[in-house]
Structures are given as C-alpha cells and as structure tokens.
Amino acid sequence: MSSTPALNRRSLAWAAILLATLAVAPLWLPSYPLVTLTRILVFALLAVSLDVLVGYTGLPSLGHGAYFGAGAYAAGWVAIHMTQSATLTLLVASASGAAAAAIAGSVAVRAQGVFFLMLTLALGEMAHQLAESWQEVTGGSNGLYGIPAVHLGTIVLLSARAVYWWVLSTFVSGVAVLGCVAASPFGETLRGIRDNEGRMRALGYRVYHYKLAAFILSGAFAGMAGGLLATHQRLVTPADGGLGTSTLALFAVIIGGEASLSGACLGAALVVLIRDSLGASLGGRGPLVLGVVFVAVVYLLPSGLAGALRPAWRR
C-alpha cells in the first residue's frame, strides 16, 4: 500500500463527494432504504474500528463484536435508566467499549497470530454468554428492548431522518479521527509493528503497550458504533455482540482491503446490503449469496474492494 495513507488530495475529493451525497440522502430516499443505510453506517464504523486492529496493527480479532455489544448495552441501559442525552449515551458507549477492550486486550495482546485470533474468539464468546445470562441488566436472550429515543438538545431523535443524520455525523467524525490517527506517528508505529514486530522491539519500541493502546482505541470506537446501534435500533440482543457480528466485521475488513479505512466501509456496506436487502429477496438464501461473494472477492480482487478502486501504482 502506498506510503501516505489515503489523505492525499484525490481521495479527499472523493470523500467530499461521497459525504455530500450521503448528507442529502434522506431528502430523496424512502424510509426503509434509509433505515438500511443507517444500519450500514453503524456496521461500517464497527468495521473501521476493527481495521485499526486488523489492517494497521496486524492483529486479526474474531471477538470484536463484544466491545460493540458492550457499547450498545451500556448506551441502552443508560438511556432507559439515567439520561436520554444522545451525546452522553454515546460517551458512555465508547467508554464501556474501551473498558471492555482494556480488560480483554491486556490478556489477548500477549498472544500471536492464530492464538490471538482464538483468544479473542474465546473472550468474545464469554462476553456473549454474559449478555445471555446476566438477565437483570441485559435482558438475557430476549435482549434489552424498549430503549427510549435519545435527544440532542431539544431535538428528539425519533424519525428515521433524525436518527440517520445523527448516525452519519458520528460516523464521519469517528472515521475522520481514526483516519488522523492512522496517518499520525502513532499510526505509523502500529504499521511498523504489523510489518516487523521483531525489528520494532530491536529499535526500542515497547510493542506490548502500543498493541494494547491500539486494542483499546479500536474497542472505544467499536463501543461508539454500539451506542449508535442502541440509538438506531432501540433494541440490543446478545447476537449483536456475538460471533456472527464479529465474523462479519472481520471479513468486511478483509473484503474491503486491509489497512484502508475506506475499504472497510465498502466491505461493510457490501456485507450488510447482502445480508439485509439483497439476501432477503431470495427467500432466505442470504448466506449462499454471501458465500459466493466471499469466494469471488478473494479470487478476483486480491487487494480488496479499495484496491480495485485505487490505481495500480499506488497499491
């Protein structure tokens, strides 16, 4: 991948155009496609947060849904019991995602390669089981339902449009922040660890602390995406943080092309579109379509969706 992250002029222009179309989308989109687009943005933020871990630090995680779920449950619980302020619930969501990631990360980051993958899978499944059996707080397997609509100042985020704009603005700021971090010295250090952890150690970098910082940062933004889920869907179930979500997020990142935030968004959009809209109209054959897409992408687009869009020399 080229040296400068995708912040140069040309891709900024692309991003501006895309942002403009997304911002005006609610004016011409009927309500159901708008809800689907909102769901894509929530899932895309989760994929972007995971890409910080997978694409930039080289740590593939199969349990990232846990921090997404932690954020969603925290936001939902706070909205039901304490305050319906949108910003506050979002902060609580990010904080609980980060906290969960700190606890899990401090243990997981020590492992390498497939052992890290399986350790994150194990920690994710334990979090999923906790959501199922901690009936009083998470509502058990029926999920946390009846989450009230949150409000931003005086505006109650109830209509599909209001929720969409709130989710879009949070998504954009989230991706912008992660884009900056990716292009920052810290981001470069993470990419160094991904490329050659041994050499980084030999240069005096305390690799464990950087990996843990990346894990927590990624968990925080996954928690933020969870907060958006609670606001948009107003229901959080254990499956939202379970293995299904974690796997979809990981492979959305891989389809999109690792180490490219725009790739993660594209991957997420493709996966959610197939699962929610296209797959549905085939009378339950969603997984089949997804399987075919996975196989096709892995063979036809070696560098993922993002790679396909970017001119060859900058690969």
């Binding site: 052992f115 350790l119 089981q129 059996s133």
Partner: protein, 296 residues
C-alpha cells in the same frame, strides 16, 4: 472404586467418547493448519456432510451394511472435497492467512446452504446400528454400547494416524512441511500433491467423524458452526500441527464438555471458552506446541 469416581463414572467415560470423536474431527484441521497455515473454516461443514450422508445412506435406524456404506461414501466425499479445497487454497498461497480463511468461509456458507436445500431444515436423527443400539452395564452404570464402540474406534484411528504421521513417508513429509515448507519443495517433492493428500485425509476424517457423530448429534442446520468452534478450540489448546496435541486437546475438551458441565452446571455455558482463554493465557502456543513452535 473411590466414591467420587463412582459418582461421576459415567461422565468420565462419556468424556472419553466425546473426546475421541472430537479427535477424529480435529486431527485433520490441526495437521492442515500446522502444515499449510490454512485456517479451514469449512471443516465444520465437512462434518455436517458426513452426518447428512449417514442419515441419507444409512437411514434413521441403519443396519451394519447401511452404516458401513455411509462410512465409505462419507470418506470418498470428504476426501474429494478436501483435495479440491486444498487446490483452491493453493491458488492463494501467496496471500495472507485471512484471505485463505475467507475462501474457506465462503465455501462453508455455500455448502451449508446447499445441504439445507438438499435435506431441508428439519432435525434428522440417526440411531446407532441395531446391534449397538442398547445400553450395557459398565461397573454397574448404564452406558450406551455405541459410545463404548466410539471410544474403541477413536483409539484405533488415533493409532492409525499416529502411525501414518510417525512411520510413513507421507507422515515424514507432513512433519517436514510443518517445520519448513520451502525446504520440502526445494528437496523435490511436489508441494501441491502433498498438501492435497493431507487436506484430503483431514477432510476424510472429518466426514467420517460426521457419520460416527450422527447417532449422538444428529444432522441439523447450524451443527456445522458448533462443531467448527469445538474443533478450533481442540486444535488450539493442543498446539497446532501435532497429532499428540490434537489428541490431548480433544480429550481435555471432551472432559470439559461432559465432566465440567456435570460439576459446574450453572457455569456450563462459560466452561468451553473459559478453558480456552485460560490455556492461551498460560501457554500462548497451546499445551503441546511442537518443539520448534510452528510459525503461526
């Protein structure tokens, strides 16, 4: 017998039966991963294929002939599928592990849907062959005869796989590839054929395990994921790329899934992954990682 053992004798015995079934399933996954660094997410669907073959060929209450026919058909189907999957993965040999895992996941999704299209979404249960379909008394405890045979079959398969890996040329090639794949092809072995053989053998064992497991687990959509996770846990706990590791991991998980659940009933759901997390924290490369620590 000491009172405690007597109390939990059936669970201990059952742990062995489930453990050996998991070994037959997981040993292929461990060798393939150790040798080719391919995380085969389609391994679960191979098991499910075996279970559906058992229901389709042998029928709900099979005769001896039916059961053996099911075993051979499953072996052929599994072996062929494994070889094909190996060739498919080989085209991605220069790509990352995750790209290969993505391929196997795609294949698994397609296969799962094809199976549910062919056999419907109902639960199909398969009885053991008539002769084995009864309980016998073991030290005064009633225990299904079929599961005792499962232990016997497991021991035989463990011995056979161990013999193949330790004593035969193919086994030597497998162990050599686990430590250094370039050297194996440099020495002149067609790397692709070796991989196809090992992948095929692993897949064959997984489908056969599917047939053997049908009387216990039956055949239903969703079983492939449950079994895949169990196999991954067994392989990782045991250490990648080693038969002994797969056997140890399988027996440990077998006991956790039976004795563990009997003792700590209300933590039943946490046990499997708690054990995995604990092992990975204490021994980051698995309990019995091969001496040189396979490059994962």
């Amino acid at each position: 017998m000491p009172d405690w053992v007597n109390l939990h004798f059936v669970s201990l015995l059952n742990g062995l039966a489930i453990g050996f079934l998991l070994f037959i399933l997981a040993v292929g996954l461990s060798l393939v991963f150790g040798m080719m660094d391919v995380l085969n997410l389609a391994h679960g669907v191979l098991f499910l294929t075996g279970s559906y073959v058992a229901w389709f060929v042998a029928g709900p209450s099979p005769s001896w002939g039916g059961f053996l026919a099911a075993l051979t058909v499953a072996a052929l189907v599994g072996g062929a599928a494994g070889a094909l999957l190996s060739l498919a993965c080989d085209r991605l040999s220069r790509r990352t592990h995750l790209a290969q895992a993505l391929l196997t996941l795609g294949v698994a999704l397609i296969a799962a849907e094809v199976l549910s299209a062919l056999f419907g979404n109902d639960v199909h249960s398969v009885n053991p062959p008539e002769a084995l379909d009864r309980s016998v008394s073991v030290f005064g405890h009633a225990y299904p005869l079929y599961r005792l045979c499962l232990i016997a079959i497991g021991v035989v398969v463990a011995g056979a796989v161990h013999w193949i890996v330790e004593r035969t040329l193919l086994g030597a090639l497998v162990r050599a590839s686990v430590s250094d794949r370039q050297m194996v092809s440099a020495v002149g072995f067609d790397d692709r054929r070796v991989k196809a053989l090992v992948f095929g053998l692993g897949a064959l064992l997984a489908s056969v395990a599917g047939v053997l497991g049908a009387p216990i687990y039956g055949a239903r959509p969703g079983l492939d994921v449950t079994v895949l996770i169990l196999a991954l846990v067994v392989v990782v706990i045991g250490g990648l790329g080693s038969v002994r590791g797969a056997l140890l991991g399988a027996l440990v998980i077998g006991q956790i899934e039976t004795l563990g659940r009997a003792l700590l009933a209300n933590f039943a759901s946490f046990l499997l992954f708690g054990a995995l997390a604990l092992v990975l924290i204490l021994r980051p490369r698995g309990l019995l990682a091969p001496a040189n620590g396979s490059r994962s």
